[in-house]
Symmetry: C2
């Protein structure tokens, strides 16, 4: 892995892994201090990394930032770092174990010096970890910046980030690897699974799990799509007959989520992140407060009273979210007025154009929804930032909650209104179709093609400029230009938006696809293009992201499960409203409702029981995990027995060898 | 702790802790072998315990079993055993840490030799653990019993138990301690909390948590009871007005369970069982199968295919349970016929006696319910045994599930029928009152007074006999007689039945107390007598049980939560049926039902959100746990840094002292 880049590393003595960019006006003393701390021995509290300043490129521009540094590390350092971050690797017996430097030769892929043992993504993750945990000793502030305060134990990188001295820190792409990945991922024409292991190898577990989920979700939709097509083609879609589809829907959305947990556990086990312990979380870079003593670590660090945060959440954020929901409701009402107006125009004098006019309000509404979601997203980020959460995970949870509630409401309120208040299935169908198609088109455009187009322009400009000075045979840029080019690329902000999109699509399908069976087909098509556009944007539009050792899809599993509960309720209600079912209870509507409610309760209870009955982790993996635990317990016991024997009864020591053999025989 | 018994230990060289009783016809060679294995050094695979045969008593009877053995251990052995079982003890800094022999002096209560460090219950638990994990080496069978097969690693005690050679194994009571506990627990007249810490000290965490829960539940019922009394006294109980009570009920049952989790976590933390790891579970004594290799341990042991077990569960147990439910339904119908008959008799010619006759069917039904529950209990145990579960925990879960479903149905089916099918609130009230009162009286009788009466008779006989031979001053029996007496006492079968009773009481209160507000009062009264009768039976009726290091109430928390969900649904339905609420929707019943369903859904959603929002562990304990974890991580890191420094760069070693100081300063 490491050799690939060392072929052309522009006169560097090591393989550059990570780029650190400081502000161009950073004071000399701060740079000298930082470099010293990064290079210093670990025993002195340094990170023991290799750092070089990026030289000027082939052509020097005025605006080029001189303070760009390439960071690498010795093989020894990376291996001991792998132990620090608690990396799981495949052991010689095929099980996944936490890597320890002392036992390195017992791991399966450790050959010779361990040159190819760690993937480049892992090395980059290790370096990021080492940089993040580089702590201040007795400095009171960053040299040259009295306002950038430090205290013993404060992460230096976090402070530099929050003060704007450190602009960015990103891992470098590997051109050869990327080419290979690109080819197997989306350049091959033949239909196949995604190369999830390669994706994980290059981008880390978090992103690979996203693509795994995308693939799983797409395959899970296929049965729905297959049933949906005949429904649509053979005109089964008179709205009375959606009961069968609703029942299928309801079972489907429960089952697929349960099985995804098992799938996800299998993937995470193979990638060694299933039983990986979360590292102790540092405060986020933006967190501020009054210096005090952390009750857990006993270290001095900023503290922010929880009461204040709660006040901000309940008295500012919550009202704001409610206000936004009200706004969204208002927009919805405007949409319905437009809809009625279009309908009245069409009814007065029906022509081809008024027929098209019927779709216009839905399209406008869909665009407005996307715009509102986008604006709200920024507002939610701002608010959550202002709530001043100490940990990134808590920040993320609050952000996800805010965004989910609004997006759910914004996207589905009109559909619920049409379905249950207006009870107009024809309009529901038309509205659903327009919303789904418009939002898909908008999303694909905003997400991949726009950034790509921008990136391409920059890229071409750079290549043209370099070509002016130097003849490049295969249009490959030298390292220095490559680094500068990558530094200019957009930053991938994580899987949040991608999961959110899937969440909304899952909502469209699971909630209402029984009235518009083609929804599943549309979502399958969308997901297939999504795989390509997401793969493309990861490889060509964005900077390489640091890998994220995720063991599951986290809070999104919960979000999808909540959606599936809502889907059960919605589908039951839709079934109850179908004329077909109503025909069974000609006399009493009450009777019908009571039956529907009873069935719904049974289904919900069944759903929860299923959640308990289906184990989240497949059996073969549970056995492997139990075996590891058992072995470590046995080892501990033997150690104790050994010690007890040594301490109290030395005369027993003659019997040792036979005892050892017995222990192994067990 | 240990001195108490050593005062009168009948010529023994050690304090007897545990009694092991073998069958009276056990072969000499088997006894000799077992004693040898128990006494042998740990390095030789023995348990290193002290064992003495119980001598003949003052009067020797023909039927006295000679094969009763007293087991004890040296202080050293007990302390190293405490490490084996992973005991948590209070550290000198006030936190709870896992006990290690090497650091024993850093624990708070460790004084001198550590004489009083371990409670007698802990010592007994340790001895039980050591006996349970005494494993066969290369013996193929128990000497003298060729059919009692052994294989390397098989627990000897389990095999002796399953072959009936080992009759019982129980810990001894401590007379002095017991007297003190008895006094502070239930002999004191003044109202006070139970001495939970003392109970835990004497009986272990599992039982103390049961009594803690009983107390918590009783206090939680007080508000309900306080509201219930005026409802009852001032004739508010015309059935229209139960809405307020139902709403209160609904909130109450959600909130108390959430807060119990926090309470339980606090108790478990103080007792050191909150973060205690479950030991690796051995197969249950009754488990049988074909010898094979356990995939987890790699040891040879009996295996039983899961498919066979599933077949037994789904094709025998499940139909049997359904049949029993049908039977219970049949009994219920007979009850209703009796009820109608009584009513018709009363209506024809109402006298005082026919007025009483009205209650007779309910009383008979209540008695029949209790009898059915009891019979079913045995059937369920038999079936679950026959399902051949490998682990005790899995056995327990299946047993609890079977018993819960039947008991719930058996006790509440008639009430649901009366409430929702017959919609007869007067009958519901009468039926509920009769069921509740009858079952309480029956329970108290069966549970405490009957066994006590039997025990008292045996006790008196023994004392009389001993007095014939010897004059006893204070009616205290000498050790030998005491042991024989305790061996004859009934065995406490665990907290199952006690929790089950609480579960049913919780059901009566949370489901229907809005129509019969006095239910809460009755349950409070019952619980108060329950504390006394349970305390009494633990101290005087049963053998002392081995302590069970439980960290929570386990599967019962789930059962209570399921009940509280059912309570929300039931109370909403009852509210919807009240004339008061119906008056708001004079025109449309449909409208009313839809509103009630909507509110119910919101409440259920709110309940689940509450479960997420209220942390299960109080903050100060979370901080303590986090601190421990942080410290161990830091220690690991420091160790690694030390080693890295030593291995690669010896020149850095001059700097060590200052580095150490910095680390402490953090």
């Amino acid at each position: 892995m490491l050799q690939d880049l060392s072929v052309d590393n522009g006169g560097l003595s090591f393989t550059p892994l990570v780029v650190v960019e400081l502000a161009s006006d950073t004071k000399e003393e701060a740079i000298a201090w930082l470099l010293n701390r990064m290079r210093d021995l670990q025993q002195n509290g340094g990170a023991e990394l290799l750092v070089e300043q990026l030289g000027p490129g082939v052509w020097v521009q005025e605006k080029d930032n001189p303070n760009v540094f390439l960071v690498g590390a010795s093989r020894q350092r990376l291996l001991s770092g792998a132990e620090d971050v608690g990396l799981f690797k495949e052991f010689s017996d095929g099980s996944m174990r936490v890597f320890t430097f002392a036992n390195k030769h017992d791991f399966k892929d450790f050959k010779g010096d361990g040159d190819t043992f760690l993937s480049m993504a892992e090395c980059q993750y290790i370096i990021k970890h080492e940089l993040d945990t580089l702590r201040a000793r007795d400095e009171t502030h960053v040299p040259g910046y009295t306002q950038a305060k430090l205290y013993p134990g404060k992460s230096i990188v976090r402070r530099l980030q929050s003060k704007g001295i450190l602009i960015q820190m990103f891992p470098l792409h590997e051109k050869e690897e990327l080419k290979r990945l690109t080819f197997s991922w989306y350049k091959k024409v033949k239909l196949s699974f995604q190369p999830l292991d390669d994706i994980r190898h290059y981008y880390g577990e978090g992103l690979a799990l996203y693509f795994g989920f995308l693939e799983y979700f797409t395959f899970a939709l296929v049965p729905l799509a297959l049933i949906g097509v005949p429904y649509y083609l053979f005109d089964w879609e008179d709205y009375d007959k959606y009961v069968v589809f609703a029942v299928f829907n309801l079972v489907w959305c429960t089952v697929i989520l349960e099985f995804w947990k098992r799938c996800s556990a299998s993937l995470a086990y193979c990638w060694g992140t299933l039983s990986r312990k979360k590292a102790f979380e540092e405060p986020r870079p933006g967190f501020h407060g009054v210096l005090g003593f952390n009750p857990v670590t006993g270290r001095e660090e900023p503290l922010y009273p929880n009461v204040k945060r709660q006040l901000r959440i309940y008295f500012v954020s919550l009202p704001f979210v409610l206000l936004c929901l009200y706004g969204s409701l208002y927009v919805m009402m405007v949409y319905f007025q437009m809809e009625f107006w279009a309908l009245s125009v069409h009814d007065e004098e029906p022509t081809f154009w008024t027929g098209i006019l019927l779709f216009i309000p839905s399209i406008i509404y869909a665009v407005v929804i996307e715009a509102l979601n986008l604006i709200y997203r920024y507002a939610a980020e701002f608010l959550t930032d202002w709530e001043n959460h100490r940990l990134e995970s808590s920040y993320q949870n609050h952000l996800v909650l805010k965004v989910l509630v609004f997006n759910f409401f914004n996207c589905f309120a009109s559909l619920f209104y049409i379905a249950f208040i207006m009870q107009d299935m024809a309009l529901l169908r038309q509205s659903l179709a327009t919303l789904l198609i418009t939002s898909q088109i908008l999303n694909q455009f905003m997400e991949a093609f726009l950034p790509y187009w921008l990136q391409r322009r920059r890229n071409k400009k750079m290549i043209r400029k370099v070509q002016k000075r130097k003849t490049l045979e295969d249009k490959e840029l030298p390292l220095v230009e490559q680094v500068r080019l990558e530094a200019d690329m957009s930053t991938y902000l994580g899987t949040f938006d991608d999961y959110l999109e899937l969440f909304l699509l899952f909502g469209y399908v699971s909630l209402f696809s029984c009235v518009y069976p083609l929804a599943a087909v549309l979502v399958v098509l969308n997901n297939i293009t999504e795989v390509y556009s997401d793969a493309f944007k990861m490889c060509h539009v964005f900077k390489r992201p640091f890998s994220d050792p995720a063991g599951d899809i986290g809070v999104w599993q919960l979000a999808f499960e909540a959606m599936s509960v809502i889907a059960v309720v919605t589908n039951c209600a839709l079934i109850g409203m179908s004329p077909q079912v109503k025909a069974y209870f000609p006399d009493s509507e009450t009777q019908l409702i009571l039956w529907i409610v009873a069935i719904e309760h049974v289904l919900l209870a069944f759903k929860f029981i299923l959640t308990f009955l289906i184990p989240n982790v497949p059996k073969h993996i549970r056995v492997k995990l139990a075996r590891l635990e058992f072995e470590s317990l046995e080892a501990l016991k033997k150690k104790r027995r050994l010690r007890a024997g040594k301490c109290s009864k030395p005369r027993g020591s003659v019997r040792w060898p036979s005892e050892e053999r017995t222990a192994y025989k067990y």
